[in-house]
């Protein structure tokens, strides 16, 4: 076993949720993923998913209006994910 792994927090699975237009584009409403240790903030999640290539890269390109909710609360780009169980990607909302 690589001993450097022991210095990282235990990797836990998070639920990723995609809503509305993003669900349609990604072809799925949710998945379970283990985030790499380098993904520490809400903004990191978006960049990490965008690196998967299309359709992720197009929908999540820098400048696209996508908001992140961490455990049901709207997050800023620098909101830490520590302990998050559910991370959702939201297109601009249009209710009301």
């Amino acid at each position: 076993m690589d001993t450097t792994q022991d210095l990282q927090p235990a990797a836990t699975a998070v639920r990723l949720v995609y809503l509305a237009r993003l669900r349609d584009a990604f072809g799925t409403g949710e998945e379970t993923a283990v985030l790499p240790p380098s993904v520490r903030t809400a903004g990191d999640v978006v960049r990490w998913l965008a690196a998967r290539g299309e359709p992720w890269s197009g929908e999540l390109a820098a400048g696209r209006a996508v908001r992140v909710a961490v455990d049901h609360a709207l997050a800023a780009a620098d909101t830490p994910l520590a302990g998050a169980r559910e991370i959702a990607l939201l297109p601009p909302v249009t209710g009301g």
Partner: protein, 148 residues
């Protein structure tokens, strides 16, 4: 203070009644009712589906109501939002704020709507003669929310 998210038809009068609550301290109730139009961005709209993010939605609305209660001396904030399939003229949202005086009732009600429009996880998908389309967010909604 109550939040309702439902796929059943909304009764705006009931939301109004809950806010007023037959309370002698209330001198003013501001009610906003958002209804489905049969036209948007130049297209006829025959039907609409309101998607939301169950679990977050109720919390987001409760947070907005609580924020309004902190900012203004209001007595009650009631929010009801429809989800699922809707037809033109259906009520989409009803927000009622009860207060002693009208200034704070109007301000808090408008604040709740502006915040709801930019922070509550609802998405409209319209059915038009050209097919279904997700409704685009309006820049004017961001500007309205930025006032507060």
């Amino acid at each position: 203070m109550a939040v309702v998210v439902t796929s059943e038809p909304l009764d705006a009068a009931a939301v109004l009644a809950r806010a007023h609550a037959h309370d002698g301290a209330v001198g003013a109730v501001a009610l906003f009712v958002g209804t489905m139009r049969d036209v948007n961005d130049g297209s006829a709209v025959a039907a609409m589906t309101l998607e939301h993010y169950p679990g977050m939605t109720e919390q987001a609305l409760a947070d907005i109501a609580a924020e309004a209660t902190q900012r203004w001396p209001v007595l009650r904030v009631e929010i009801a939002h429809r989800v699922g399939p809707l037809a033109p003229t259906d009520v989409i949202v009803a927000v009622a704020v009860a207060a002693a005086h009208r200034g704070e009732a109007f301000a808090a009600c408008e604040f709740v709507m502006d915040y709801l429009k930019t922070r509550a996880p609802f998405w409209k998908k319209e059915r038009t003669p050209d097919g279904e389309r997700w409704v685009d967010a309006r820049a004017s909604d961001d500007e309205a929310a930025a006032r507060w």
